[in-house]
Amino acid sequence: METRDEGTGAKVGEVFRQVLRLDPVGAGSDLRLGGHPSWDSVAHIDLVLALERAFGIAFSTVEIPDLDSFDRIVSAVGRKLAARAAP
């Protein structure tokens, strides 16, 4: 379980670097939507679409604003992947 979470976090971090040109680890653990010039709400949609492509998941419009921190995104992606893996 721990290994999978680390893997998810690393892959989410890679999407952050590609889309926002932002290293979520280097930017600090308090990195939040709107808290950095490259992560505004317009770029947020690009980020969400890239995450969906990278993980093969989909977020609803209601979920998108709540994906407002790196940690929350890792958790949400993990939940989607777990739900998909469940029998």
Binding site: D40, S41, V42, I45, D46, L49, S60, T61, V62
Partner: protein, 396 residues
């Protein structure tokens, strides 16, 4: 002859209208098109002149539009924040023909309407009510040109989001020979000006598609000391091709806008106040309507991403009035929050030096009048008491 385009995908029902409105831009050879309600994976269309080879190419493009609009698309959950559609009054008719017969409406061409005495007086009353609404929102009156600079629209990123709706203005080049050739050779064929395109100068202006853009251009590069609250009414132009429809969807229409430029809380509070004040206006006019979340009609490639963006952050609400003769609603007003998009684009900063946030409340005045007449009829004696009285006091 009817042609078919198999989409290869089934469109979501809520995407039907937006999809169809885009198909008019696939080819100017299309004369008619439809999407079956029962089969949302099949478009049928007619060409102005039957041509099997062209029809194949058009069908491929239609399929491509479906694919591109669905890329990244997800169901956009519409949230209704106010529903006053119950017991909607109905005049029992589509008023266009009767208004034309009584000299109150004249269509000069697609999307271009002349307004006669009944509607003009009604719009005067609405204008007075909108000025009172603007006073209540503490907005200062402004007037803006109908032309808008191409540079301003580029800063609004309008070319990417709504290229299909643009109306480009031009004039003849400052060239004696070109002007003389135009004067000699220009003619009109089938309602179109026929001339040498090289005689036209590169366009520095377009006809404005919205009022509030002028204010952002005015404030460009400035640092605000407080909130700027402004209002203006102006002619707006959005070309909608085959979707143009009487007063419901004009190419050339009038928009009354109320705008706030300031901090995020100020912009959001303005939109809330504007929405509440608009409800009073609609109720005063006895309209049946609802207010719900909405998205703008972005063009094909921008559609999914921008619509998701607007829906996710609830950036746009619309007031939709019941159009009884059509059995659906017509957007007569919108309440928009743009975050700091225009603040960044036009380098407008708030008192703290941060990019300003903006909000606007907009009314489509011809649509408002159409909804009122469609619901209450053309006879002032049957109108709601307040409007009837104001109409009488105006000497009509």
């Amino acid at each position: 002859m009817r042609y078919r385009a198999d989409l290869g995908v089934t469109l979501p029902q809520e995407l039907r209208k937006d999809f169809l409105s885009k198909l008019w831009y696939v080819s100017d050879a299309i004369e008619a098109l439809s999407l079956d309600d029962e089969r949302l994976d099949l478009v049928t269309f007619d060409l102005r002149t039957p041509d099997d080879a062209l029809a194949g190419s058009v069908a491929t493009r239609i399929t491509d539009v479906a694919r591109r609009m669905l890329a990244g698309y997800r169901p956009l959950e519409r949230r209704v924040v106010l529903d006053r559609t119950a017991s909607a009054p109905s005049s029992g008719e589509d008023p266009h023909a009767a208004l034309a017969a009584s000299g109150d409406l004249h269509l000069f061409g697609r999307g271009r309407a002349g307004i006669g005495p009944l509607l003009a007086r009604l719009l005067d009353l609405l204008g007075a009510d909108l000025r009172r609404l603007g006073d209540d929102l503490h907005t200062a009156p402004h007037r803006f040109p109908t032309l808008i600079g191409a540079d301003t629209l580029a800063r609004c990123r309008y070319f990417e989001a709504f290229p299909h709706a643009l109306t480009i203005a031009s004039h003849l080049r400052e060239d004696l020979d070109a002007i003389a050739a135009f004067a000699r050779d220009a003619k009109v064929e089938q309602g179109r000006l026929v001339t040498d395109p090289h005689a036209l100068a590169p366009s520095e202006c377009l006809l404005s598609p919205a009022v509030c853009f002028h204010l952002y251009a005015w404030l460009a590069g400035s640092k605000l000391e407080g909130t700027t609250l402004a209002r203006a009414e102006g002619k707006c132009f959005r070309y909608e091709s085959g979707a143009l429809e009487g007063l419901a969807r004009l190419w050339d229409f009038t928009m009354s806008e109320f705008v706030a430029v300031g901090t995020q809380p100020e912009a959001l509070a303005f939109r809330e106040r504007g929405m509440a004040r608009a409800q009073t206006l609609f109720d005063d006019w006895g309209l049946a309507y609802e207010i719900h979340t909405a998205t703008d009609p972005f063009f094909v490639d921008a559609f999914a991403k921008q619509a998701v963006f607007q829906a996710a952050f609830e950036l746009k609400f619309e007031a939709s009035a019941v159009l009884p003769y059509r059995g659906d609603g017509l957007a007569i007003s919108s309440f928009n929050y743009h975050q700091d998009f225009f603040g960044r684009s036009f380098e407008i900063s708030d008192a703290a030096g941060k990019p300003a946030h903006t909000a606007c409340v907009a009314f489509g005045v011809e649509r408002f009048a159409l909804a009122f007449i469609a619901q209450h009829g053309r006879d002032p004696r049957r109108w709601p008491a307040r409007i009837r009285q104001l109409y009488a006091e105006a000497g009509a």
